[in-house]
Symmetry: C2
Subunit: 275 residues, 2 copies
Amino acid sequence: FSLNLMVVGGRGLGKSTLINTLFNKELYPVETFNKPDFPNPEDPTPVSVETVSADIEENNVKLSLTVIDCPGFGEGINNTDSWKPIVDEINNRFDMYLEAETKINRATVVENRVHACLYFIEPTGHSLKPLDITFMKQVHEKVNLIPVIAKSDTLTEKEIQEFKQRIMDDITNQGIKLFTPPEYDNDDEETKVASREIMAKAPFAIVGSTNQIQTPDGRIVRGRSYPWGIIEIDNEDHCDFIKLRQLLIRNFMEELKETTANVLYENYRTSKLKK
Amino acid sequence: FSLNLMVVGGRGLGKSTLINTLFNKELYPVETFNKPDFPNPEDPTPVSVETVSADIEENNVKLSLTVIDCPGFGEGINNTDSWKPIVDEINNRFDMYLEAETKINRATVVENRVHACLYFIEPTGHSLKPLDITFMKQVHEKVNLIPVIAKSDTLTEKEIQEFKQRIMDDITNQGIKLFTPPEYDNDDEETKVASREIMAKAPFAIVGSTNQIQTPDGRIVRGRSYPWGIIEIDNEDHCDFIKLRQLLIRNFMEELKETTANVLYENYRTSKLKK
Ligand SMILES: Nc1nc2c(ncn2[C@@H]2O[C@H](COP(=O)(O)OP(=O)(O)O)[C@@H](O)[C@H]2O)c(=O)[nH]1
Ligand SMILES: Nc1nc2c(ncn2[C@@H]2O[C@H](COP(=O)(O)OP(=O)(O)O)[C@@H](O)[C@H]2O)c(=O)[nH]1
């Protein structure tokens, strides 16, 4: 089993923490000291693409996980075209696959295509920003796009509901397509219900933490401890982390890869061969 | 008594809410529907300056408050020169004063100069962004600069301490000057201690809310209610709101105005007359 997961969003939105939380592994050091250098702050900010791979175990199944991170995105004063290096990365991986496919020994084609892109939305409480919209429009037809509300413990329950509604309105108005798991008639009812329950929470309001904390009633949980209370990552009344994890690892991992292979890659290949 | 307070920071950092909280008055509608229009998202974003005035009462003293808001700052994809309209506003107000001063009847000079600028830092937990640094360097010698950590209920106590340290390191390294209340030898000890206690909390980790909420132990407080607990605005163990309020309204209002008149304005006037 393998999964290639791209992670995009402004600095400090908890991306590294969320990856570590999803896979229960310190894949990313949550560094605050690798301050990017901006000698000329008003020049367009360089965006780079970095890859981290690890073998992890999920339910006794070995998973080869690759996380594609895009530091620099949205960080500068001028973020014009900051989506370009990221779109190039998605395209390059399609190209590598296309090239490998055309070779004689197809059995050795390495699966490097991006299976999903988690896009982190700043929890402003208002609506999507121009950069959010521009980025999502650049990638939604190349990758399974899964927007998440970053650091959602910033928002009250009511604010989350309203924010989710406004985000989905923006997404609809802008013609942005999100990953939607296909539903098959021969799926059993339980599968269909589980699928709809997961997607009903989109965009997922997530919180990440690998800290083990003891609650006042004596349970040990992963969470963030504030003077006014403890938010529990794995508590579905506190955030949608569990739903996101189910989507990525338990319920829809195969759907993500199939959609990538059969729809997104095919569209890319078709439009490329037409040129 | 009058106070001209400028408020600057990215959208959705709780600026409107904080102003309403500081003065316990719905000065600003906390609107989420006035979505700015970005027909060409990649063009530099227009920054405008808006003024709201109100008469409020503080400890039986009437205060004429003017809040100068700067919508559009930091919101776009390209925020190059987004500080310019704001610096122009500060300069224009100095120019108006300069012009009024040179007229014969000086008794009628209206005090429109900006007495303080609250700059809202996004609670990333990392350090200052290029736009933060660029903006602060453009204004710190023209206005009393008071940086605050916006929506600080996003951060744990430990994260706040570390973030404050990194912010102050950035500020020191970049040569940015913050408002510091002058200390006089003939101040009584109590005044000196109060003054140092307030400034020791800078940059102030603030939270805003005008919602009245009942706590589990039956108190009615201003706060934000989460499933895991209630953050109380006026609780100094929860955030530095009280300290900021003391600075602006109780302890240092006169110092802010004197520094503006005797130092910042004088420097502006001197460099202007030299040209
Ligand atoms: N409030 C809140 N803070 C978080 C969350 N996840 C991470 N953080 C904190 O936010 C800061 C930045 O996190 P990091 O994972 O480095 O963000 P990145 O720059 O996007 O990779 C750190 O202080 C984290 O502890 C979250 O879900 N909620
Ligand atoms: N977590 C948190 N949310 C806040 C705080 N202050 C305001 N908000 C929420 O953040 C959203 C945007 O607030 P607003 O005052 O309109 O921000 P502005 O765009 O900077 O003026 C609203 O949903 C507010 O309820 C705060 O101190 N902490």
